[in-house]
């Protein structure tokens, strides 16, 4: 039975392999060292400096962003043979700044000339190169891909939005699906900037009964700035029935903050968001 599952999983995984999605084009590119073929429509195509290889690079996302990136590379030699067993290195480099990065990208050979490159960490926005160094049979050649305009990855959860004029600043409200009534008080008033502090959170049923033993997590965000809290706050204690201690809150800037609590109790889960407008 286990074996069958393993086989099914293997088939499933194999069918998801990136190769399956590629559209073949087979364009010819002539070069002083000979003729090379670009095989895949969506790839970036380069011939290595000494004309030993053609390298196709396929981005996993639409474009490279600051942060962690991954690409696939497909390497062919002059005779259009797949380059297998190559010792491949990929070096992110900022030519205008003359530096690279600490962490090395991780290369995994998939066979058929395909190598996956993970953990490409671009530490800032700007002009980057990915230098693909291919070593095989005692020879070395390099293909350089340039990305002139790597920009900040704002992330999916961090779309910039402006504070609405009628921001709801109440410190107590029903959760979004009406399952709990949640309110907070800060131990420090007015709410401080740059100072770590605690809140007390009271969780009741809509009928007003305390909700004990709830599992509560939280997160904070500055929607206009695209970043979160400088700390990772937690609910650390239930002080009395339905009254919880939240420790580790810290606001690094004045402005609009949103604190989101996820409350799970009695097999039900709901979220509530509180807006804060912090003044200097």
């Amino acid at each position: 039975m286990n074996k069958i599952i393993v086989v099914l999983l293997t088939i499933l995984l194999a069918s998801c392999a990136p190769k399956a999605q590629r559209i073949r084009v087979d364009e010819k590119h002539t070069h002083e060292h000979g003729e090379f073929t670009k095989h895949y429509e969506e790839s970036l195509f380069k011939i290595s400096d000494k004309g030993m290889y053609s390298v196709e690079m396929v981005l996993k996302e639409h474009a490279l962003k600051t942060g962690v990136n991954a690409v696939d590379i497909i390497i062919h030699d002059k005779e259009d043979n797949d380059v297998v067993g190559g010792d491949i290195e990929v070096v992110p480099w900022m030519p205008e700044m003359g530096h690279g990065v600490f962490e090395k990208p991780v290369i995994t050979e998939k066979g058929g000339g395909l190598y996956t490159v993970d953990n490409i960490i671009l530490i800032m926005s700007g002009y980057w190169e990915l230098r693909v160094i291919i070593k095989k049979g005692g020879m070395e050649d390099t293909a350089v891909f340039d990305f002139r305009n790597v920009t900040v990855d704002k992330g999916h959860d961090h779309k910039m939005t402006s504070a609405p004029d009628d921001l709801d600043l109440s410190a107590g409200k029903l959760t979004e699906n009406g399952m709990f009534n949640v309110s907070y008080t800060s131990i420090l008033e007015p709410m401080p900037i740059n100072r770590i502090h605690s809140w007390e959170l009271v969780v009741h049923t809509p009928e007003g009964n305390p909700v004990s033993g709830a599992d509560i997590s939280l997160d904070g965000d500055m929607p206009e700035h695209g970043h979160g809290l400088p700390t990772q706050p937690e609910v650390t204690d239930e002080l009395e029935s339905g009254k919880y201690l939240v420790e580790g809150l810290k606001f690094s800037m004045p402005g609009w903050w949103v604190i989101k609590f996820k409350v799970r109790a009695g097999g039900r889960s709901d979220i509530v968001k509180f807006n804060l407008l912090l003044k200097e």
Partner: protein, 414 residues
């Protein structure tokens, strides 16, 4: 007709100079209630006393301050007998040198940090790799490019020259035979020979030595904590604003400087990060400063997070005097290392004009270069935190004029 127009203009200009100009000047000094609240938040009078460090029970002990002050200037605590804390933090230069990279026995990869107000911060060093002033103070001693010393050598110096002062504060020193204190012994992964000598010592002896070493840091921290700013011309200005004293306001700052202050709070949004009376949020940000070619890449805060969590002198360590619940900053540290790649601590702006060069590796020689850097960041490189508006050359010079008003003498334990 032409002549009449000319005369009219002269008369008009005269009237303008007489009446309208002072009105404009008054506008410059008129602040809304909201702006006044921001000014007050930056005012030195809003700076509370330096908070107690729960991890250092000696940090308010005057005897610890006195010992710490002597140790701060003690060059015998170095491999070449020439490096003390004051080498990179000279008191006659507001406790920070003027080199792009700190220089002790060798050269480090980062600029020395200003010590003014150091007792207020949750995280120390550019990358926040220490969570207290005493833990920070110990770092440079065992760095081969700073003091180039070891904790066993530090213990020997304390025993030889500071026994009485030490014992008055921390209690009796344990007795050591000569072989108990091998000079070149320290728990350093970069120096295997010293590490081998260190682990060859019995555990109890290592603890005795490390306890002396930690106490030495606590005394130095008690002294460094006393280094605080005094009122600058900016603070005199805010005092006049609070007292609704226009002549005091005009006396404290020039029009140019006040225009710079308005930009600082308004269009240029510098208070996003440079907030509070020390003009810093103490947090870590990647502002896209280019790393000098001569140095290895520097990932800043992202590489320091794991280190401070396992640091032998952190708030929850055996050498800390704090209870676990006192260590909120460490317990709730943000472990999202990706978020902090290339991020460095926002430095204070107090006395900023007095301490070029700027940034974590002294990348910029002048304040003007710093301001131009912020302005010239390409839109796609600017996060919302770095949105400074489109500043003109004139506005940059006004901002610079304002920054120069944050100069003030420092005070410290005499």
């Amino acid at each position: 007709m032409k002549r009449f127009t000319g005369q009219f203009l002269i008369v008009f200009n005269f009237l303008f100079a007489l009446s309208i100009q002072p009105v404009l000047t008054m506008d410059l000094h008129t602040w809304s209630e909201k702006e006044k609240a921001v000014l007050k938040s930056l005012w030195i009078e809003s700076l509370p006393p330096v908070p107690d460090d729960p991890s250092n029970m000696y940090d308010n002990d005057p005897r610890a301050v006195a010992l710490g002050k002597r140790l701060f200037f003690e060059a015998r605590l170095s491999g070449n007998l020439r490096v003390s804390c004051a080498t990179c933090h000279p008191p006659n230069m507001n406790f920070v040198d003027n080199l792009p990279l700190a220089h002790g026995m060798g050269t480090t990869d980062r600029r020395s940090m200003p010590l003014v107000g150091a007792g207020y911060y949750a995280w120390l060093f550019w990358d926040g790799r220490k969570d207290s002033l005493w833990a920070q103070a110990l770092g440079p001693f065992e760095s081969p490019v700073e003091h180039g010393f070891t904790r066993t050598q530090c213990a020997s110096i304390i025993i030889k020259y500071y026994k009485r002062q030490y014992e008055e504060i921390f209690g009796p020193l344990p007795s050591f035979s000569k072989k108990d204190l091998p000079p070149l012994a320290k728990p350093s992964l970069d120096e295997p020979a010293a590490l081998k000598a260190w682990i060859s010592m019995p555990v109890e002896r290592r603890e005795d030595v490390t306890r002396i070493y930690a106490n030495m840091g606590k005394a130095i921290a008690a002294f460094v904590k006393t280094i605080v700013p005094t009122a600058s011309r900016f603070d005199d200005y805010v005092a006049a604003v609070m007292n609704e004293d226009p002549s005091g306001m005009m006396k404290a700052l020039t029009n140019e400087e006040v225009k710079g202050l308005r930009l600082f709070l308004g269009k240029a949004k510098c208070t996003n990060c440079h907030s509070g009376p020390l003009f810093t949020n103490g947090d870590f940000h990647n502002i896209g400063v280019p790393q000098p070619e001569s140095l290895p890449p520097d990932n800043g805060r992202s590489e320091a997070i794991a280190g401070v969590l396992v640091d032998e002198f952190n708030c929850m360590s055996r050498y800390s005097d704090a209870q676990r619940q006192d260590c909120a900053e460490l317990r709730f540290i943000d472990t999202d290392t990706y978020k902090y790649i290339g991020a460095f601590k926002t430095p204070t702006l107090r006395n900023v004009s007095e301490r070029p060069p700027y940034m974590h590796a002294g990348q910029f020689k002048t304040l003007q270069e710093v301001l131009e850097f912020y302005r010239d960041l390409k839109p796609e490189q600017r996060s919302a935190d770095l949105e400074h508006g489109n500043l003109t050359d004139l506005e940059l010079s006004q901002l610079e004029a304002f920054l120069r008003t944050l100069k003030s003498p420092l005070t410290f334990a005499k």
